[in-house]
């Protein structure tokens, strides 16, 4: 009887081409899942500070209806002369506002507001 064939390949796939196709398929599934989850499954999104800075103004309040492109808030960033304005990327309703003017916020940690986005849009 012959010796069992040793597997010394660096991939679980038959060839590099199979691995490439699997990577494309895997990414398609991941990206489609994210888009469906964000557009149809979660009811609202918690918007955290996209970068560290100081809140200059919050242009919305709890219960406000916003349209895509409306100003939400502005942040003063370190080393920048002008405050950076952040606009709504989708229409929806503001469920709560946590940040106040003069608050120092940390990137990805402090919540600015919670937005209930229109179903089928990408918040």
């Amino acid at each position: 009887m012959s010796e069992p064939k040793k597997n010394t390949k660096m991939t679980v796939f038959k060839t590099d081409r199979h691995e490439d196709m699997a990577a494309i398929f895997f990414v398609t599934v991941v990206v489609a899942s994210i888009l469906i989850y964000m557009a149809f499954i979660i009811p609202s999104v918690t918007i955290k500070a996209p970068t560290s800075g100081k809140v200059v103004a919050v242009a919305v309040q709890k219960g406000s209806e916003v349209k895509k492109g409306d100003l939400l808030y502005s942040l003063q960033l370190k080393g920048k002369p002008e405050p950076k304005k952040y606009k709504a990327v989708t229409s929806g309703k503001i469920l709560s506002v946590t940040a106040k003017p003069d608050d120092a916020v940390k990137k990805g940690k402090d919540v600015i507001l919670v937005l209930q986005h229109e179903k089928g849009t990408l918040p």
């Binding site: 597997n7 660096m10 679980v12 490439d20 990577a23 494309i24 990414v27 964000m38 990327v89």
Partner: protein, 369 residues
């Protein structure tokens, strides 16, 4: 380990993959936050700020630790199939990085990237052919060495092997030499970049040109700036990396022609056939993501959708890099020596330094896209 088939193969992947996921989870949830707060040399977060020890480099170091210390030099059978998913995750991450660009932006920077990459790739190949010849290296070994130094440590060396009739030992030697050099540059490049105050664009261009392995380019860029977004080091470095990967079939063709130039077989070498067989298909996935991003189908820049996508992307990279670390066998690196080591190190070092000089002299601080 015996090669498994079907469902048994899928089940065999689970233990190793679960181990990689658990490792990354511990690194990102506990180790990295601890390192951000711990005081070393009188400075809070010194390990992260000065040594660039974020989850990316930690993933590679932990993978190396597993392979060389815990596993005693060989990935055990129970984990081997799971660790073989490493390249799948790195390729998937590269495809997802396509979402950082628009078609217009890619075309703008692509021209500079193509010029730099093709000059450096073919310049390095010519150097290895000349220097290898001077050092009386075997022509087959020169062929794989030229491919691995010129374009990509592993993929190109493996792709060139049959064409230049290289022995497995030649391939292992070439890969060990160039990967060893790459690991060294991966750890020193972020510090050099900070010292020279390189912008993310310059750093990405330098590393994308000077470092020879996709995983190492990604890791080095993310160590320099862990953000995954347009305008960051990884976004720029990846354009260079993609152009380099695209050049692989051309490199294989060129080296094959050189190897067979005095033989009758040279007449039967076809570039079209080599492109058909060797072109990396996952690049089409990358371009597909760029097309979706250009048409705004992945959400607006700054949206929570994009934020989530980049979070997922960073986990996919992290997984790939734990595996990448586990494929670094220190004993194999020690095997590199003699003329191939001399030629490989000379080619790698010249390319690395020259790429830095060219970037400092000719690449603007900011990209115009």
């Amino acid at each position: 380990m015996e090669e498994k088939q079907g469902m048994a193969k899928v089940l065999a992947i689970i233990p190793g993959l679960a181990f990689m996921i658990l490792t990354l989870f511990v690194l990102r949830t506990y180790v990295e936050p601890w390192m951000e707060n711990v005081v070393v040399m009188g400075q809070k977060g010194w390990l992260v700020k000065v040594l660039s020890l974020n989850y990316i480099l930690l993933s590679i170091l932990t993978g190396m630790f597993y392979r060389n210390v815990i596993f005693g030099g060989k990935i055990p059978d129970w984990a081997a199939e799971g660790f073989r998913t490493t390249r799948l995750f790195i390729k998937s991450g590269v495809i997802m990085l396509g979402s950082l660009y628009t078609i217009q932006g890619l075309l703008k920077v692509g021209g500079i990237a193509i010029t730099l990459i093709f000059s450096f790739v073919f310049g390095t190949i010519l150097f290895v052919i000349w220097f290898g010849g001077r050092n009386k290296m075997d022509r087959s070994l020169i062929g794989v060495m030229a491919a691995s130094c010129g374009v990509c440590g592993v993929s190109a060396a493996v792709a060139t092997t049959p064409a230049v009739r290289a022995k497995p030992a030649d391939v292992a030697l070439a890969i060990a030499t160039i990967l060893g050099f790459g690991i060294f540059t991966m750890f020193i490049s972020p510090a050099i970049g900070h010292l020279l105050h390189l912008s993310d664009y310059q750093f990405g261009a330098w590393v994308g040109t000077g470092i020879l392995n996709s995983g190492q380019v990604l890791a080095t860029c993310l160590a320099y700036n862990p953000d995954i977004a347009p305008g960051t080091a990884v976004a720029y470095g990846e354009i260079w990396n993609v152009v380099r990967v695209i050049s692989i079939p051309f490199v294989v063709f060129f080296i094959t022609l050189w190897y067979w130039r005095s033989e009758a077989q040279a007449e039967h070498i076809s570039l079209v056939k080599i492109i058909k067989e060797k072109f990396p298909l996952f690049i089409f996935g990358f371009l597909g993501m760029t097309a979706l991003s250009s048409f705004g189908m992945l959400g607006a820049e700054g949206s929570e959708t994009i934020h989530l996508m980049r979070q997922v992307m960073s986990w996919i990279f992290g997984l790939g890099l734990v595996g990448q670390g586990a494929y670094i066998d220190i004993r194999e690196l020690k095997a590199a020596g003699g003329a191939p080591l001399k030629v490989g190190l000379a080619a790698g070092a010249i390319k690395y330094v020259l790429a830095l000089v060219v970037v400092l002299l000719f690449v603007a601080k900011e990209a115009n896209f």
